[in-house]
Amino acid sequence: MPEIKLIVRNKVGLHARPAVLFVQAAQRFQSEIRAIKDGKEGNAKSFKAVLGLAVNQNDEVVVRAEGPDAEQALSALAKLVEENFGEP
């Protein structure tokens, strides 16, 4: 199953607006997408699960995808995080 490692640079981590954007992005894909932090795993399309990982600034998150558009999903999520959720 393809996976990527992302470092969340955003000041608030995956909280508030960045968390909403992350989950919205994941929901655009058919594949099953999981987010993992410190061994804790959750459904990347579930806002509750993503918030529940308590991802802070500079935390590493592993994202795994399985399905027809897995590669596209991972690159879209990577882009979102690398571009810091559109914040300067």
Partner: protein, 572 residues
Amino acid sequence: MKQFKGIPASPGIAAGPAFVYRPVELIVPSSPGVDAAIEWTRCQRAMAAAQQELAALRQRATSEFGEEEAAIFDAHQMIVSDPDLEEELRAELEAGACAEAAVEIVYARAIKTFQDMDDPFFRSRGMDFVDVRRRLLCLLLGIQDRSLAELDTPAIILAQDLMPSDTAQMNKAMVRGFCTAGGGPLSHTAILARNLGLPAVVGAGDGILGISSNTPSIVDGGEGILIVDAGEDVQAAYRERAAVTAGSVSAARAQAHAPAVTQDGHQVEIGANIGLPGEEADALQAGAEGIGLLRTEFLFVGRQTAPSEEEQFKAYLPIFEAMGDRPVIARTLDIGGDKPAPFLSVPHEDNPYLGWRAIRIGLSQPELLKTQLRALLRAGSGHNLKIMFPMIATIEEIEAARHLLDEARGELEARGQALAGLVEVGTMVEVPSAALMADHLATQVDFFSIGSNDLTQYTLAADRGNPAVAGLTDSLHPAVLRLVDQVIRSAHAAGIWVGLCGELAGDLTAIPVLLGLGLDEFSMGAAAIPGAKALIRRLSRSEAQSLAGEALSQPNARSVRELVQRWMSDRT
């Protein structure tokens, strides 16, 4: 008159009749569902209706409160349609629950997960699930709750806690201030009030819910108190303070970023007191030259477990980054019986102000204090960090605290971690014994910061929170001023500087006296900064010195105030 003490959440003073918000109590039927498919259809209808309501609230919030507040409803919409929650709901329905019971069970589980989290920012998100649960249950039960929307006279809002849905439908034009029984400085009400520039007190206890609507109330957001049924004298004093703050801010804001230099060329430093992440932005905007007091209690109060070094580091770092190379004076944890932190399990004390609190806790639980010191040293790396210890009463305490700071530094060096190099170390002077022994203490530290609020209540033996004796606690009492004078003289003789970070530093009547006594740094709430700077620029240091000399020889606080007011009116 009755007074309730809570946690300061948003500065300012407001007066008006109370409006007690009591949401309709929802009774969730525990009856089994008629049929899982029918109950699921009911759930889906409620979810669709919730999405519609939330879209409308989002629009209203965008125009009334701004994008930040509106974004909360994006999160709520995501919660309503959350696939994990949906799956759990269906499982409960399959197991025979009715729609209401399923929502109750599934959301209660999610809320518990958040309440158990260590990180306060993520923990506070639990409120969003509480809010969405209420919306879904109201829809399922056919209940409408609109009392805040129908507010038609100016009022102080009292509530258990307010949720985004409550505040978004509230008639904002009529709200003067907030006081909540529950919640902390990071609660929704606290954040919203700061954004709106309205005073707020949180965590004031369930006692406030017994107040009747329309009771005359005063919220003092800077002090964290709610006063109801105040006498005419107290009301007049608050009206005056509110007017002074409002007037000086608007007039002086334009000059807020210029330094505070007196007519005869003496410059003093003006810092801000902050107690929450994000407040440093207000401080900078108001013209603060540094943070004169960074209260760190927000990380500790109300916690079941102590915050980790990492969590503290992350909370402090943005403050240092925002301040760049401007000084940030962090005060180590100042908790105790009066500012409860459940993880400490402080036993009941008859006299918490004289009990196990502040540095006394830090020294008896060295790991707790060292964890904080390590987090501060790391966050202050490359910045201008200064550390001060609260409630020092004896020279042994400051020696022990410095020793722990050295240990914390050594531990970080052993880990090879980046940490702040030169860090000035200071002590708060708020216990009369420290003021009286200032000449000895001065040999142990790089600066003093006078905590005038506590120094006043300890000197006059009067609890500021107790309305029966609150009249005794005027910090301009000559007894307090004589101690301040002695502290400044001892410090200057030893070649160290003195700041003052109590309410007195922003009191326009006190400023000429403090300037005359030789205070080097004034640290106050951000809102008071422009006015304080403007006043100092109009004063002459040498004239203020004569005024201070006269103030020290007055018999009581009232005559000091009258003296300064006469002196000021001669000069304007």
